[in-house]
């Protein structure tokens, strides 16, 4: 199952918090797509997910300086 989270309107620390809480609700093997802004969220959200043992499957730029991350729990 694939979940989606848009954190482009969030600011620190809720960018990380929302991703962490969403991943906590999911079961192992499920995927989460995260739309985020370049800069602080892009630099730290993928790294933080990997540090917690999740797999960052892809990280693609989209329109307006945003990125779409695909994370697997």
């Amino acid at each position: 199952m694939k979940h989606f989270l848009d954190i482009t309107r969030e600011t620190c620390p809720m960018t990380f918090v929302k991703v962490k809480l969403q991943l906590a609700k999911m079961v192992a093997g499920e995927q989460l797509e995260v739309l985020l802004n370049a800069g602080e969220p892009l630099e730290n959200v993928p790294a933080s997910c990997e540090e917690q043992g999740y797999k960052v499957l892809s990280n693609e730029p989209t329109d307006n300086n945003k990125h779409l991350l695909l994370i697997e729990k």
């Binding site: 309107r9 969030e10 600011t11 620190c12 620390p13 809720m14 990380f16 918090v17 991703v19 962490k20 809480l21 730290n44 933080s48 540090e51 917690q52």
Partner: protein, 162 residues
Amino acid sequence: MNLPVDKKKISIVCFSGDFDKMVAAFTVATGAAATNREVTMFFTFWGLNALKKKKGRVATGNSLMAKAFNFLMGGINNLPLSRLNFFGASSKLMTMMMKQHNVATLPELVEAAHALGIRIVACEMAMKILEVEQSDMIEEVESVVGVATFLNESENSHIIFI
């Protein structure tokens, strides 16, 4: 609690009861917990006001002095700004500005802290002075501890004093 040996730990001493400093404490705490750190928040002196179950002004305590202090300080809804407080109006104005800019407000940060499982402990000595009981505080207060316990539990932690 069994934690991976390499899990980073942060302990935050929440001494100040100022609105802006409490926002800073909860911002650091939630950011740290969301990035895989084990976080403990130790509330002492004026910081205890943020943990009171009654969020407004209540004359908690037994002695006249404690009742007066607790009433004048109030709860989390009465935290003053550390500068330019303007008799309490500024924290409400600041909350409005935070909402306008999509920044998490203090109640949202507190809720996130609970959701992330941040450990909340209260200072036994400050509670005794201010005659605040654990039953006067929010149920998320895990325990009431002294400084020795706090320091023992914070070994190998970064300690931040706010």
